[in-house]
C-alpha cells in the first residue's frame, strides 16, 4: 500500500494534476495481489512449531526412506562379536545407538527400517482413503438423492462398529479367503494392512467432503457455471473440488498421523504386519515388551520415533489449518 501513497503523492504534485488523474492513478495502481498459495505459505511460516515440525519430519522421513545410508546393517542382521558369538542385549553405545535385542539384531537399524514401513502405511493409507473418500463424498453431496442416502447409511453403520474390532476381524480374512487375498494382499503384509486401514478411513473423508459440497452447491458460482452450460463433472472437478483443497490437504495430513497410530496399534497386538516379514514401529514395541526388564532402549527407540512422528505431523496439520483458513480459500 505504500505504493499508492507514493504514487498518489507524486501524481498529485505534478503540474496539471487533476482530481481524476489522482484517483484513477491511485485506483489503477494497486499492490500486486498475492496469490492464495503465497498467502498460505506466508501464514504457514508464521507458525513456528509447524515449521520446526516440518523440518524434524523431513529428517525422520529421509532417515527411514534412505535407511541404508544411515546404517550399515540390515534389520535382520545378527551382530556377532569377533569370536563368533551373538552380541545380544548390548547397551546403547557407539555403533549401536539403541543396542541390540535378544537375538543380536541392531535395534537402531530396526527402528529405521520399521519407520519405513510405518510411514509407508500411514501415507499410502491416507492418500488412498482421501482419493476415494473425496470422489464419493463430492458425488454424494452433489447428486444427493439415493447416492447420498446410501453413503450416509453405510458410514453410519460402519462407524457404529468399534474400529479396532473391525480391523482385527478384517486382517484375518486374507488367511482364509482367496478373494480377500487378491483384494487386500497377502495376510499380514504391508499391502493388506494399508488397504484395510484405508477401507475405514475413506468414510470420514467422504462425510466431510459431502458436507462441504452441500454448502458450496448453493453458492452463486455453481449456478453461474451451470447456466453457462458446464456439465456435472466439470462443475465437480473444476469448481467444487478446488474450493475444498484446503480442507482436503489438512484432512490428509491428519489422516497420516491417525493411520500411523492405527498401524502401530494393530502391529502391537499382532494383527498388523508380520514381524517375520519386516519390522514396523508397532511390532517392534510388542517385541520390546517382553524385554523391558532388561533393556528399556528397546521400548524407547520405536516409541519415541512413533510419538515424535505423529506429533510433528499433527503440528504441521495445525499449521496448515492456520495457513489454509477456509475463509481465505473457499468462496
Amino acid at each position: 500500500m505504500t505504493d499508492i501513497r507514493e504514487t498518489a503523492a507524486v501524481v498529485a504534485t505534478e503540474p496539471g494534476a487533476t482530481a481524476d488523474a489522482v484517483s484513477t492513478a491511485a485506483l489503477g495502481m494497486g499492490v500486486k495481489p498475492l496469490t492464495p498459495t503465497k498467502l498460505a505459505w506466508r501464514r504457514f511460516r508464521r507458525h513456528k512449531l509447524a515449521m520446526a515440525s516440518a523440518v524434524i519430519l523431513l529428517v525422520i522421513v529421509v532417515m527411514c526412506t534412505f535407511a541404508p545410508l544411515f546404517t550399515k546393517y540390515s534389520w535382520n542382521t545378527l551382530i556377532r562379536n569377533p569370536s563368533g558369538g551373538l552380541e545380544r542385549f548390548l547397551h546403547p553405545q557407539h555403533g549401536h545407538w539403541l543396542g541390540t535385542d535378544e537375538l543380536g539384531k541392531d535395534w537402531y537399524t530396526n527402528v529405521l527400517y520399521g519407520g519405513r514401513v510405518s510411514l509407508e502405511v500411514g501415507v499410502m493409507a491416507a492418500l488412498a482413503s482421501t482419493f476415494v473418500g473425496t470422489i464419493i463424498g463430492v458425488a454424494a453431496g452433489y447428486y444427493g438423492g439415493w447416492l447420498d442416502n446410501l453413503l450416509m447409511r453405510i458410514t453410519d453403520l460402519f462407524l457404529a462398529i468399534p474400529l479396532i474390532v473391525s480391523l482385527i476381524l478384517l486382517t484375518g480374512l486374507p488367511a482364509n479367503e482367496p478373494w480377500a487375498r487378491t483384494l487386500f494382499g497377502p495376510s499380514q503384509s504391508v499391502r493388506s494392512v494399508t488397504t484395510i486401514i484405508a477401507l475405514f478411513f475413506w468414510m470420514p473423508v467422504a462425510r466431510i467432503l459431502r458436507g462441504l459440497v452441500l454448502s458450496l452447491k448453493e453458492k452463486e458460482f455453481v449456478e453461474a457455471a451451470r447456466a453457462a452450460g458446464a456439465s456435472d463433472g466439470r462443475i465437480m472437478f473444476r469448481h467444487l473440488i478446488p474450493n475444498c483443497t484446503g480442507q482436503i490437504i489438512i484432512n490428509t495430513t491428519l489422516s497420516v498421523a491417525a493411520a500411523v497410530l492405527l498401524e502401530g496399534a494393530l502391529s502391537y497386538l499382532g494383527f498388523g504386519v508380520d514381524p517375520v516379514k519386516t519390522p514396523t514401529w508397532g511390532n517392534l514395541l510388542a517385541h520390546a515388551q517382553g524385554q523391558t526388564q532388561l533393556l528399556p532402549a528397546l521400548t524407547y527407540g520405536p516409541g519415541i520415533a512413533l510419538v515424535l512422528t505423529v506429533l510433528c505431523v499433527n503440528f504441521v496439520g495445525d499449521g496448515l489449518r492456520d495457513a489454509l483458513d477456509p475463509k481465505q480459500l473457499s468462496v
Binding site: A19, V22, A26
Partner: protein, 351 residues
C-alpha cells in the same frame, strides 16, 4: 398497541439516577481511537472520532461496512474484544466511561445505555426461552425482583412491543418467533430497565422491508413516549430519512459530515454524502443509470493518508492526500460540519 401500559411500566420502574432533561447532553465522545491488534498488523477502525448525543433526539449514524460506526458504539459500552485498544474520551452524562472497571460498566449496560443488535436470530441465545432472557436482564439490575414478578413484567413488556399472546410467547424459544417478532422481543428485552440511551445497531437490516417499517414505527413510538436519546446506526439512507433528527456520516473511521436530517438530504456538502445520496435508486422521477461511488472502501490496515476518501473523490486535489481536513462548521451553520477541503456546492441534484 399498548402504548399506555409501556409508559406506565416505565414510570413505575426505579432507577438510581434521575432521567435527563430534554436537550441535556447524555453522550459526549471526543477523539475516540480504536485499534485492533491482528496477525496482519494493527487495524485502525476508528480514528479521532467525535460525537454528541442529547436526550430526546434521534441521531442517525451512517456509513458503509467498515466505516467504524458499530465499533464506536461498542467501544462506548465496553463490548469490544480484548484485542481492541481504545483511547479518547467517552462521557455519559459527564462521567468518563473509558477505562472504567468492568463491574461498573456492567451496571450501565442494559440499564442506562442499552443496545439493540442487528440479527435477532443470532443475537438471542437459541436454547434459552425468551421470557427467561428478558427476566435475566431485569433481575441483573433489580436484585429485589423475584422470578415470578420478573416473568410478569416480561409478559407486559412483550405486550408493549406489540407481540400477540405474550403469555404464550414468553415461554417459547427464539426460533419459534418470526423475524420481526424476534426483533420486537429483543427491543422489549433491552427496554426492560428503562434506559436513558438506546443504541440501535442496524436493527432492521436483517428484516424484510415490510417488517422494517413496523419496527421503525415501534422504535419511533417508544422514543416519543420516553424521550430517550437514540443513536441509530445504519447504512441505509432511506431508514435515516424515516427516523433521524440529526445525521452523522462516517467514513473510514472518521466523521465526514454532521447535520440535521433536513440539511443532509437537501444541502449536504461532503462529496461522500453526495455520492451516497446519488447512488440511491429513485422511485419517483427520471430513470437513468445508478451512480455508484467509484472504487471500494479502504482497508483499515493501511488507511490512505490525509482525507480517507480522496482516492474515490471526484473533487480531490493534492492537498487531500496530505493532511486530514478538520471537521469544521460550514455555510455559517454551527450545527452543520464537514471534513472536506473542497466541498460540493450547496445546490445541485438532491433527493
Amino acid at each position: 398497541m399498548a402504548d399506555t401500559s409501556l409508559a406506565n411500566l416505565l414510570q413505575s420502574s426505579e432507577s438510581a439516577d434521575t432521567r435527563p432533561a430534554l436537550g441535556e447532553r447524555v453522550l459526549e465522545i471526543r477523539d475516540l481511537n480504536v485499534t485492533f491488534k491482528t496477525e496482519d498488523g494493527p487495524v485502525y477502525a476508528v480514528r479521532g472520532f467525535d460525537l454528541d448525543l442529547d436526550a430526546g433526539e434521534v441521531l442517525g449514524i451512517v456509513g458503509e461496512s467498515g466505516s467504524g460506526k458499530s465499533v464506536t458504539m461498542l467501544a462506548v459500552l465496553g463490548l469490544l474484544p480484548r484485542t481492541a485498544q481504545i483511547t479518547g474520551s467517552v462521557k455519559f452524562r459527564g462521567e468518563e466511561l473509558i477505562g472504567r472497571k468492568p463491574k461498573e460498566l456492567q451496571a450501565i449496560r442494559g440499564e442506562k445505555i442499552a443496545m439493540i443488535f442487528q440479527d435477532p436470530l443470532t443475537a438471542l441465545n437459541p436454547v434459552i426461552r425468551v421470557g427467561k432472557q428478558i427476566t435475566e436482564a431485569l433481575r441483573a439490575h433489580h436484585t429485589d425482583l423475584d422470578q415470578r414478578e420478573a416473568m410478569g413484567r416480561a409478559v407486559e413488556l412483550l405486550d408493549s412491543v406489540g407481540i400477540p399472546r405474550p403469555e404464550v410467547r414468553v415461554m417459547q424459544y427464539p426460533h419459534e418467533f418470526s423475524g420481526g417478532m424476534r426483533q420486537r422481543a429483543m427491543i422489549a428485552m433491552m427496554l426492560a430497565n428503562d434506559p436513558q440511551v438506546i443504541v440501535a445497531d442496524e436493527p432492521t437490516t436483517a428484516l424484510d422491508v415490510t417488517i422494517q417499517s413496523q419496527i421503525l414505527e415501534l422504535l419511533k413510538s417508544v422514543q416519543e413516549r420516553t424521550r430517550t436519546a437514540v443513536a441509530f446506526i445504519t447504512h441505509d439512507l432511506g431508514v435515516i430519512a424515516h427516523v433521524a433528527d440529526r445525521v452523522q456520516v462516517m467514513y473510514a473511521g472518521r466523521a465526514a459530515e454532521l447535520s440535521s436530517a433536513d440539511v443532509l438530504f437537501h444541502r449536504s456538502r461532503h462529496p461522500y454524502t453526495r455520492g451516497l445520496l446519488a447512488s440511491l435508486p429513485s422511485l419517483t422521477g427520471r430513470t437513468g443509470r445508478l451512480l455508484p461511488i467509484v472504487g471500494a472502501p479502504p482497508s483499515m490496515l493501511n488507511p490512505p493518508p490525509g482525507c480517507a476518501f480522496h482516492p474515490r473523490c471526484p473533487n480531490a486535489q493534492g492537498k487531500c492526500a496530505g493532511e486530514q481536513p478538520p471537521f469544521d462548521p460550514i455555510d455559517g451553520d454551527p450545527k452543520h460540519r464537514i471534513a472536506c477541503y473542497f466541498p460540493v456546492s450547496a445546490d445541485g441534484p438532491q433527493t
